[in-house]
Amino acid sequence: MSTIDPSKPIRMTQQNTSSATVDPVSDNRRKGVRRTVTITAAIALAFFLVSFVQIVLMK
Amino acid sequence: MTSGVIRRSFTAAAMLASALFGGAARANPTPYQLNMERGASTWSQVPYHLNNISLGVCVVIGILVFGAMFIAMFRFRKSRGAVAEKWSHNTLLEVIWTTIPVIILVVLAYLATGGLTSWADTTGSQMTVKVTGYQWKWRYDYEEYLGKPISKVGFMSKLDSQSDQTRQLDSGLDPFKVKVGDENTYLLNVDKPLVVPVDTKIRFIITGADVIHSWWVPALGWKLDAIPGIVNAAWTNIQTPGTYRGQCAELCGQDHGFMPIVVVALSKPDFAKWLAEQQAKSAPPPAAPAAAPAAASTAAAPKTAQVSAAPVADAQG
């Protein structure tokens, strides 16, 4: 399930407010985070819009 | 001041005893009151019984669960040499404590559904009163009684002046001295109460004029929101003549706490007399037509007593 590859133990680095890290470990994880964020943000936006659609439906 | 508090707490202790053990049906709040009241209408015993039954169920479950917890805390202490066991699963137990709550809930749901259905049935009413919530007073309009439309009987009902003076910030007046007879009516009295007959299925149609209010007289057993743009309906059938007090139950602005409701339930002849007086007051100068409906209502009273018996029996069954 985890997207970290245990066979390549490479140190993680801390990113800071002015720069993102280039993640040396795993492209998988980066992709995974990106996908999760896209999906969850889409859910949030959908619920926001649906709250307005309700009004139309109930009229 | 101190002696007053002490004296009051003595009276209160006596009242506590009566609140705990007194069986008389009271309708208005009393000091140290611990439980809901039975109320004064045919339906008001539904929430009262549901309250008592569900409280009883909760107390029994609570004793079992908390009892088990305290036994565990006593028996399985490390300081008594308890050694932790390894198990973390027991299918039988888990099935039992999932199904038993379901059974209890089904029983409660059955009882509640019956009561709710009888509450929602406003058909067959013998009187209609329109209630309108204003910031911060109520308006009552008598629409219909025993099948006859009533026009021009309606009035505003707001906090009585004694409570109003006492409740001002730093008024220096003692709320304990606001009384009608023996009863303290601080913030629970109005200048002009709603007058209704007993043994009559009264339909209330409730709405709001500005913001949302909620019309609540505990002795009638329910509250219902008064919402601008929406007309809600509910009914009551008061059994005992008396004065029943309530308050606005939905935050409606700065004087939300100061718009009480008083319902005075009269016997049917008394009510007919009262209604005739009101109609006479609002009627145009020739007084003759006003007397006629009054006489008619009085005459109709005995007949309605029989009619009203049916919904009473319904609600009790």
């Binding site: 399930m1 985890s2 970290i4 245990p6 140190r11 680095t13 801390q14 800071n16 002015s18 720069s19 995974g32 985070v33 999760t36 859910i43 936006l45 619920f47 926001f48 649906v50 309700q54 | 709040p29 000091p31 140290y32 809901m36 549901l50 309250n51 569900s54 908390f66 917890m69 565990a72 805390m73 399985f76 300081s79 973390s88 699963h89 027991n90 999932t98 809930l105 409660l108 509640a112 259905t117 509450w119 929602a120 006492t166 008024s171 709320p175 303290n184 601080y186 913030l187 949302i212 505990p218 057993g221 509250k223 219902l224 743009g229 309530g246 308050q247 139950a249 939905e250 602005g253 939300h256």
Partner: protein
């Protein structure tokens, strides 16, 4: 980019940046941001608590002594907004920030920079909200639910709406971050069904957050346009419907209730096994119970609206759905008791608060069941019975869990043991006075005292005085908490061991105390024996 890499490398070896501004305002470290959240929540807890003290002072006896009714309404509104959005929710996000990466073996949150932003929005949101108290028209006074048309009468509506938007954005970002962390950053071997229950509870809570915070944002946006841009969403004069607002608000509001209690369930499910020295009973059942409560929370919203005059069918549906929640909640309580049964228990402060949680939260659950019965709710609704109910659930529920978590993990955060004696003093004072404070409110509600009123009939005087005395002493007891925290963070001489508690299991106890600035730079090799749920097959 090469510069960035060097800089990070630099940080790695030297721990926290030295400069105060850089460390706290520009932090991307989950531990520092977690600390910020927790400190912010504590500050808001005392601000919201001071509002509560003023409310209880005015209600001490009948008659108005201290304030005008309108100011009283502002206090009740602000007390709720500050406690819900400022104290309880940020405290849980802070605990999640601190502990989730440590519990799943991740080096940090998945989105550290967004983490910084989601915290730093909050102080601005609350400055804006609290500033309305000093404005000419006063703060919001229409209740935290902001029901129109009443809320539209307030001059400070725009401020409140904007600050609610900010809090919502902050919560949504925090929730996305937590989901991304849990789903993608777990160490190899940390399978989903080996995660601590706290992590599970936060994963589910985060989904609730991203589903409902946008709905709240939508609802308050409509309030704003109704007041300032001439729309008629909720204005009956223009064909709108005030009840529609309540439907939208409670579609947010009920899951919100569970947002404030599910992480608490997670915390209690960590603490009870630790001090019982016995694995949690029915791990999977606990996880499924949380998930089913979360699901049910979406279909029960109208039980907050039984008195608005819903159609009979709707009232029956929402009554049944609400009653159904008692089943998974009951399972959780029974499982906690079974975890204790056959254990080897000790009663340190976190355990005391956890036990108080189980008992008092259950009492709040009981009154919740009573409230679910529609005919009975016609009497309870909008009375002090409801006030007692939700304070049992939120104060002795959510807040006690947060306090328990603080005592439980504080040694791991600071590296010092707090004072057990003063911790227990705090516990006994809190648990006694909180009951003196809230238990009589059940009686007040049953006797017919509506909520949100500044003054009352003398029949309610006795229990209100008792309640106020309990309130003042409960408030004062929290000053002990503050003292224990300051002592436990800065002054205590007793160093914490790495494991801290004898029965503690899980990855967070394998790192040193205090937890170093960076942990799990290298994904840990997980031994199932170290995990609380490493060998779960039930």
């Amino acid at each position: 980019m090469s510069h960035a890499a060097t800089h990070d490398h630099h940080d790695d070896h030297h721990g926290a940046p030295k400069n105060f501004f850089q460390r706290w305002c520009m932090s991307t470290n989950h531990k520092d941001i977690g600390t910020l959240y927790l400190v912010f929540a504590l500050l808001m807890f005392f601000i919201g608590g001071s509002f509560a003290m003023l409310i209880r002072a005015e209600l001490f006896k009948p008659g108005l002594q201290l304030m005008q009714p309108y100011f009283f309404n502002q206090l009740t509104t602000m007390h709720a907004l500050v406690m819900i959005f400022g104290a309880i929710m940020p405290a849980f996000v802070g605990l999640g920030n601190w502990m989730i990466p440590l519990m799943v073996g991740a080096p940090d949150m998945a989105l550290p920079r967004m983490n910084n932003l989601s915290f730093w929005i909050l102080p601005f949101a609350f400055t804006l909200l609290l500033s309305t108290l000093f404005s000419a028209g006063g703060g919001p006074a229409g209740g935290w639910t902001m029901y129109p048309p009443l809320s539209l009468q307030s001059d400070s509506l725009a401020y409140v709406v904007f600050s609610v938007h900010l809090m919502g954005i902050s919560s949504i970002m925090g929730a996305i971050n937590i989901i991304a962390t849990i789903l993608n950053m777990r160490a190899p071997g940390m399978e989903l069904l080996k995660m601590p229950v706290f992590v599970w509870s936060w994963l589910i809570t985060a989904f609730l957050l991203i589903a409902v915070m946008p709905v709240l944002a939508g609802a308050v946006t409509m309030l704003l346009t109704d007041k300032y841009f001439g729309t008629n969403f909720f204005n009956p004069g223009g064909g709108g419907d005030p009840v529609l607002y309540q439907h939208i608000f409670w579609f947010f509001g009920h899951p919100e209730v569970y947002i404030m209690i599910l992480p608490a369930f997670g915390i209690i499910s960590e603490i009870i096994p630790t001090f019982s020295r016995k694995p949690i009973f029915g791990y999977k059942a606990m996880v499924f119970a949380i998930a089913s409560i979360a699901f049910l929370s979406f279909i029960v919203w109208a039980h907050h609206m039984f008195a608005v005059g819903l159609p009979l069918g709707a009232e029956i549906f929402f009554m049944y759905a609400t009653m159904l929640i008692a089943v998974p909640t009951g399972v959780k309580v029974f499982n906690w008791v079974s975890t204790m049964w056959g254990g080897s228990m000790t009663f340190e402060t976190p355990m005391l608060f956890a036990i108080a949680f189980v008992i008092l939260f259950t009492i709040g659950g009981f009154s919740g069941l009573m409230l679910a019965l529609v005919p009975a709710d016609f009497q309870y609704h909008d009375t002090y019975f409801v006030v007692a109910h939700f304070h049992y659930v939120l104060v002795t529920g959510a807040l006690f869990a947060i306090i328990a978590a603080t005592y439980y993990w504080l040694p791991k955060w600071s590296g010092r043991m707090y004072s057990e004696f003063w911790g227990k003093m705090h516990f006994w004072n809190s648990v006694i006075w909180v009951n003196v404070l809230f238990f009589p409110q059940h009686f007040l509600g049953l006797a017919g005292m509506p909520r949100r009123i500044p003054d009352y009939n003398v029949a309610f005087a006795n229990f209100n005085m008792v309640s106020s005395i309990g309130g003042f002493l409960f408030g004062a007891s929290q000053l002990i908490f503050l003292g224990v925290l300051v002592h436990g963070v800065f002054f205590s001489k007793k160093k914490a061991t790495d494991r801290v508690w004898e029965g503690a299991k899980g990855l967070e106890w394998t790192v040193p105390s205090p937890a170093p600035f960076h942990t799990f730079d290298v994904p840990p090799v997980i031994h199932d024996d170290e995990l609380a749920h490493g060998h779960v097959n039930d």
